[in-house]
Amino acid sequence: MSKIAVIGGGVIGGAPPHELAKLGEEVILFEKNYFGSGSTFRCATGIRAQFTDEANIRLMKYSVERWEKLEEELGFDINFKQTGYLFLATSEEEVEAFKANIRLQNRFGVPTRLIGMDEAREIVPILNTEPFLAGAWNPKDGKANPFKTLFAYLFRAKELGVDAREHTEVIGFEQEGDAITAVRFRSNGKVESVRVDAVLNAANAWAPLINEMAGLSRDIIPITAYKHQLVKTEPLEPGQAEPLVCPPSWNDAYIIQDGEDGGIICGAGIEHKAKGLDDYEPTYDFLRGVLEYAVRIAPPLRYAHVVRQWAGFYAKTPDSNPAIGRLLDNFYIAAGFSGHGFMMAPAVGEAMAGLISKGRSKVPLDWEWYDPYRFERGELRSSAFQIG
């Protein structure tokens, strides 16, 4: 049994401890704020396999399969619902692009299909069919409650003996050569250290700071925090806009009904580079901009009341694909999820546990594709589609 430190108490750091504990490892999890405070609790809840490249499609197909069983496995209601993703095309060229994506997705077993607007309207009763020609529809995509998902992992992990600590900030490592031998951390103003056999950096937007503690360059994985904002309405009756509905050509704008309280979450690609890693200030341009799109997607939304707007980070890499793998001898990373961390967490959590504990995993994760050193080599992947 080895002792593994996981840094970052979002869902990407929250899933591996449970998986590692199942493999018999001892785990200590560090979160400098409260659990989920970084990106997880700020996400739009969506889960999809509709990507445009093989690696992401295969990873997400597997992840969705894990999501389907997660509630039972963790013994906690996480409100996972397969309510689908509906992408909408506004031009013939886009319809053709959708068809190509659908072929690729079908090839790996993702059951996306092209649907007409009548069917789309049946799925989303408040949809404006007028501006759109067709939809790419995968009923197996879905959503879950980010808060409950993370807590389900943590509760289960604690039962398996994981030491999960919040308000505890990692401040440095002790190393022998490249190998990390201990983690130094601060809690309630007190500095302590713990001996470890391996470290997983799951700090997403904060990951470069952790890499630096391990003696690496901050830019070895260039992650930039972009402020992504959401606007949400008051709770509404379910069934009005259950799938994530997105016309990508409208600046990636989307709406999705929260699976828990029924409020409609509205997002868009109106992004701002964060001024710092504490810059969560919502902006006025987003508030108006996102709703301009939202009422065109679903005009009856005009009568709903907005109750809040908030911001979180898309921790973006240059190709919008995460960095997943081993960085040093016993130092691993899963970060830079560029907005996809929540949906990928079940697969990535399991894959990382396998990699760290056994050096391998049965998860269909293309290690090559997500290789953390690819940026240093100047090898960028095709940009992953970034929605919800």
Partner: protein
Amino acid sequence: MRLTEHPVLRFERGREVTIYFKGQPIRAYEGETIATALHAAGIRVLNYSANEKRPRGLFCAIGKCSSCLMVVNGIPNVRTCITLVEDGMRIEPQHGKARLPGEAKPPEFKEAKVVRADIVIIGGGPAGLMAAIHAADAGASVVLLDENPMLGGQLVKQTHKFFGKREQFAGVRGVEIAKILEEEVRKRENVEVFLETSAVGIFQEGGEKLVLAVRNNRELIEFRGKAVIVATGAMEKMIPFENNDLPGIYGAGAIQTLMNTYGVKPGDKVLIVGAGNVGLILAYQLIQAGVEVKAIVEAMPKVGGYFVHAAKVRRLGVPILTRHTILRAEGRDKVERAVVARLDENWRPIPGTEKTFEVDVIALAVGLRPSIELLHQAGCQIKYVRELSGHVAVRDEWMETTVRGIFVAGDSAGIEEATTAMLEGKIAGIAAALRLGIADESWLKEMEKAQKDLLEFRSGPFGRHVLEGIKKALIGGVASE
């Protein structure tokens, strides 16, 4: 249930109109809210709650608590306590979460109206009005916005005369002070007033403060200024007890609004929870409106408000049960009874001491807390200060918060009195004009006088307690215990 005569107030009702509740016609008057008209018609249950479908009625009457959501003309989630009646309106109770109408035209995107001024003042109660008067006199252009259809804030509901010194309006009824201050504000050409206008957010845009607001629930307005004074007052606290969400349980302020603003009796028999100034004053106002007050219960071993307010209601026969609390409300769809009990030294109800009051209204007067949402949202440092009754913005002697250019005054800076709110408003108004370099140095003296008056007002046992709190709320102030 409508009041026709009152020892202090005169009710001027608007044109009579008809609204329809579940298809049944109801008489209403222009200028009153939907919830008021329904209340006057004896309707208590306005909706059934989101998850458990519990009956809910009017509670806060100021658009904050979500207890009065109804479907109006087919549109769900309308806050009927702040939406005015219109002839022919169709009103339905809402059952749980709402469905949006199936069809709608997407609204056209329009640029918002922009209003510029040196100083934007949010809240037209005693603090905001005094801030506007003094900022304007010091040379600043001012916009003053308030969410209500009238200026004066809580003053307009106060039939009692105020304390302090006569130059601070002592001996004048709250409702009269509101008129005097409004007249002063209206006289000044450099003050523009926006009523029924709610500030919903403060953004920093370059060197400018953008106060985003909504007028009449319809129009988006961008108020752009160099300084902002937040004088948003207070909101009532709630306490948990069994069935505390039953229709017929109201915040004290809601009853004052119904009774003193709209001239509608809240009910026939009332139990009041809380013997602070609000509860005591409310009891007196209820008696003035011809409503029977069965008792006032107070968990503390003594009257928390001014003794003289207690004596006023005692001599009219209202018992004050100190060291008592409410255990539960009873009733099917609305309050029919209230059960109270005596508390022991550890604040636990003593079995066997239960008393039941047959009442149709339970008024909660369990304290106010500062309305700091805008200050918090705008990024001002917030601190819990018990003596000021909740979370408040940290500020300096000039009432400027930790966000430069944002000032605070009145109850939103700490629960106190209208008199101190007026003095703080004066300080904030002058301070903002000084900070912007608009006011000349002579205004510094004027501000110092207000500071001195405040200190004098606060020199008694009540004020000393507040002063302890203010020490903690000052930038670099003493640490909390």
